[in-house]
């Protein structure tokens, strides 16, 4: 056996080592450029009282979660019971960002619909959904056209942002929250931020 004929084998083993290591990584875990940056400010109409607005800075001094949801979002239904339980145990305040309630729903066409009509429909749909599934939120605000979603870099629903006392985004969770991610990542970070402040 000549040494040079072993070269392909050794190269392959090197590659296999990397592949094995690659299995332990999660390529989907993309760091958000917004982490540790001030959360984009917003002032939006409240879902429960559409004639009133709510602004991000009203949460200053609190460690809290911003949860992006919509009634058409199937995965939100999956995480919702957990949010309700979290609210019962008063773990951490959660503000809901109701995202593109009407135009995000593929089943509805907003062609030719006035913004007022769309808002009214969003209020009706959002409130009904919370009545059916329980309302775990401190309150929810309505991002009718998805503009605030763009500021936050939302590219799928649900997503959850952890925001600290100074209004900085400290963590972003993509997809539905699971009991594991709540205990493993979100709550430890919440505790840490509370202690720090």
């Amino acid at each position: 056996m000549k040494a040079k004929f072993l070269v392909p084998l050794l190269l392959f083993f090197g590659l296999a080592g990397f592949l094995a290591f690659g299995l332990t990584l999660n390529p989907r875990e993309v760091p958000s450029p917004l982490i540790d940056k001030p959360a984009p400010n917003f002032r939006l109409a409240r879902l429960d009282q559409p004639d009133k607005t709510f602004a991000l800075e009203e949460m200053r001094g609190e460690v809290w979660l911003l949860n992006v949801w919509a009634s058409w979002c199937v995965a939100c239904r999956q995480e919702h019971p957990l949010l309700v339980r979290m609210a019962e145990q008063k773990l951490v305040p959660v503000v809901g960002l109701n995202y593109k309630e009407v135009r995000g729903d593929g089943a509805i066409s907003v062609r030719g619909m006035a913004l007022e009509a769309e808002t009214a429909m969003a209020v009706e749909r959002g409130q009904r959904w919370l009545k059916e599934h329980g309302d775990p939120y401190l309150l929810s605000v309505m991002d009718i056209d998805g503009r605030i979603g763009i500021d936050f870099g939302v590219y799928g629903v649900p997503e959850t942002f952890l925001i600290d006392r100074e209004g900085r985004i400290r963590y972003k969770h993509i997809g539905p929250i699971t009991p594991e991610s709540l205990q493993g990542q979100i709550m430890p970070k919440v505790e840490e931020l509370r202690r720090a402040g």
Binding site: K2, P8, L15, G22, L23, L25, P27, D105
Partner: protein, 660 residues
């Protein structure tokens, strides 16, 4: 009940694949005819049971049996029948079953078409294929059982991913898998030859048609996939250097090198150890591609559900199959030295150079695909490698390949006079560059890329014509008809496939340089201009399908005051998953496509419309068709059948001799 039968049949197939793996290999080692003879029926029985299992799974989809987990997640009662059938392979579990079925189909083809092979050799080939098959069927059964029940069943399924509900998707995966998996035959031949120590011209000749047919499937599969991406994704592109595309392109590059290396080994006995390594490499890259797609180590638009257990299993499979064959190679390769000698200027050298370049190209695609993973593993950050890297690496590597590809066939085997040959092709070369510069100037796009692309294309076309003229001139005095007939099918195959590359380059260059794109807001009655065409938006209407709601735009395509046609792109929302999809509309022409896709509707009732002008894009696929045709011609050469008959006679003679 039927899903359970399918599950059971798959288990039986696994048992048979193990029999097929072990018994003939032992038989070949002990020279026992009885044990060796087990291979053939075991392989055929295995195919029967996999097919049965596959039909059972398809039945669950057709019947909308949503107590089967896979059908519940990938089908819907309103899905058209065609997409219920293709939905079987539009997911991880089903596509693995398809993988195993195509491997089994190739194995059966070997048992049918290789009657002339010596018994011991065939036994080893079947044994190796059985081992691979056992690995994949057990992977399917252990980690990804397609017959998993969902109890209690659900009333309605989640439907097939709408992106996959398309005619292109009906044929793309089967073609691609036939190509991927087809390299397993060349691989098994190489391993069998290494085991027996018999790596000669006959081995290369037996491998050649199998390799070529697998390559044809892979070429067709990649081309169809690229066409699907072009008209279905609605982005107007045809190749994205996505990891999954790369996973199919790497074996294609190495398979191309293998076909050419096999030619040298057959004709001249040279490059034997290199050819074996390529045969192992091409199949290894197919396996690696399967790993990359199935394990989720690389993010991709194609990513299926990821599960670390699956990744680990298939990685272990990879290490066993590739590691063992490379170890065998290391142990035996020094016996493969030698072969026909050749001088620096010869067809061998030009083929070797092309081989090396193709291998380097394949390695650089591999590097680009895995680079994010390497960096992440070494904790150097997260990056993604995009088209600029691949284009920067690929163009300089492929340019000499294309130049040599047309120069090589002019050279004689063994030794040739470089100066005389160069003098002969120099006028063509100069003319090609002139045509390249001239046509780039004519289309008003005088960049080095356009000039390079068009010059290379002209070089391929002109040199092909020159080569044909020379071939026809070889038998001076004979009638034209007999001159044409004297050319073998494999020569035509080479000629067509090389010409196909030229046509392909024209398409790629023209689309890359001259395509135009415009996103506009359009209201009913509004017009937009692009590349000399006028688009008149005539509004959008509802056009609901069986399992989706849609809006269909109506856009008149006008040129020079004449209406060329009406384009009707659709924006669909598939009900079951609430997933929006664009369905582009095309006006296809020989020299250009006009491509329109419908975007979002805005509050004021206007629509975002994407307009594309794609010159010569059909030439990309026409080039692929020519390459595929070339492969078919090459594989159908009469020579293989004639020599197969001779080998069969020799094998019978040998058996009689051994008995006596």
């Amino acid at each position: 009940m039927i899903p359970e039968l399918g599950h059971f049949a798959l288990i039986l197939a696994l048992v048979l694949s193990m029999v097929q793996a072990v018994v003939p290999l032992v038989g070949a080692q002990r020279n026992s005819a009885a044990l060796m003879a087990v291979g053939r029926p075991a392989a055929q029985g295995q195919f029967f049971f996999i097919l049965f299992s596959y039909v059972c799974l398809t039945w669950a989809f057709i019947q909308s049996d949503f107590s089967v987990q896979l059908a519940a997640s990938n089908s819907h009662s309103e899905t058209p029948l065609m997409y219920k059938i293709t939905g079987v392979w539009g997911n991880h579990e089903g596509s693995l079953l398809l993988w195993a079925m195509s491997l089994s189909l190739w194995t059966v083809a070997v048992t049918v078409f290789s009657r002339h092979l010596p018994d011991a050799f065939l036994a080893r080939v079947l044994g190796v294929l059985g081992l691979v098959s056992a690995g994949f069927i057990s992977f399917t059964l252990v980690t990804s059982n397609p017959f998993e029940r969902l109890l209690p069943g659900v009333a309605e399924g989640r439907d097939l991913n709408p992106l996959l509900q398309d005619p292109g998707m009906i044929i793309h995966p089967p073609l691609l898998y036939m190509g991927y998996v087809g390299f397993s035959v060349a691989f098994a031949f190489a391993i069998a030859a290494l085991l027996s120590g018999r790596l000669d011209a006959a081995w290369a000749r037996w491998s050649r048609p199998w390799t070529t047919v697998a390559w044809v499937f892979l070429t067709a599969g990649i081309a169809v996939g690229s066409g699907w991406a072009y008209y279905e994704l609605g982005w107007g592109g045809w190749w994205f250097w996505d990891p999954v595309e790369n996973a199919s392109f790497m074996p294609w590059l190495l398979g191309t090198a293998l076909m050419h290396s096999l030619a040298v080994t057959e004709k001249r006995g040279a490059f034997r150890s290199w050819t074996v390594l390529l045969a192992i490499g091409a199949f290894s890259l197919s396996l690696l591609g399967t790993f990359l797609v199935r394990s989720g180590v690389i993010t991709s638009v194609h990513a299926f559900a990821t599960d670390p257990k699956r990744g680990l299993y298939i990685l272990a499979l990879l290490v066993i199959v590739i590691g063992a064959s490379l170890l065998l190679y290391a142990a035996r390769a020094n016996k493969l030295m030698g072969g026909g000698s050749f001088s620096l200027v010869s067809r061998e050298t030009s083929l070797l150079a092309n081989n090396v370049l193709l291998t380097v190209a394949s390695a650089s695609v591999l590097l680009g695909t895995l680079y994010p993973l390497f960096l992440d593993a070494l904790n150097l950050g997260k990056i993604s490698v995009g088209p600029p890297y691949f284009e920067a690496v690929f163009v300089p590597l492929m340019t000499p390949v294309v130049v040599l590809m047309m120069f090589g066939p002019f050279l004689r085997w063994k030794d040739d006079d470089l100066l005389a040959e160069v003098r002969r092709v120099a006028p063509i070369f100069v003319a090609s560059v002139a045509i390249g510069v001239g046509s780039a100037w004519a289309v008003d796009h005088l960049t080095w890329r356009t000039v390079l692309g068009l010059s290379l294309a002209a070089w391929v076309v002109l040199a092909s014509l020159r080569l044909l003229a020379r071939r026809l001139g070889e038998r001076a005095g004979a009638a034209a008809g007999s001159r044409l007939r004297s050319i073998t099918a494999s020569w035509w195959g080479m000629w067509l496939a090389h010409l196909g590359i030229g046509i392909f380059i024209i398409g790629v260059t023209m689309v890359g340089s001259l395509d135009r794109h415009l996103d506009v807001r359009m209201k009913e009655g509004q017009r937009a201009e692009l590349a000399g065409y006028t688009f008149v938006f005539r509004g959008a209407v509802d056009a609901d399908g069986p399992n989706y709601d849609a809006a269909r735009g109506n856009i008149e395509l006008v040129r020079d005051g004449r209406v060329l046609g009406v384009l009707d792109p659709e924006k669909r929302v598939y009900r079951a998953q609430g997933m929006p999809m664009t369905e582009a509309a095309l006006d296809i022409g020989v020299f250009r496509d006009v491509y329109v896709s419908l975007g979002e509707q805005l509050e004021d009732g206007s629509w975002i419309v994407s307009l594309y002008y794609k010159p010569f894009i059909s030439w990309i696929w026409a080039g692929c068709v020519l390459m595929g045709l070339g492969g078919i011609f090459a594989a159908a050469d009469r020579r293989y059948r004639r020599l197969a008959a001779r080998d069969a006679a020799a094998a019978v003679g040998g058996r009689v001799g051994a008995a006596a």
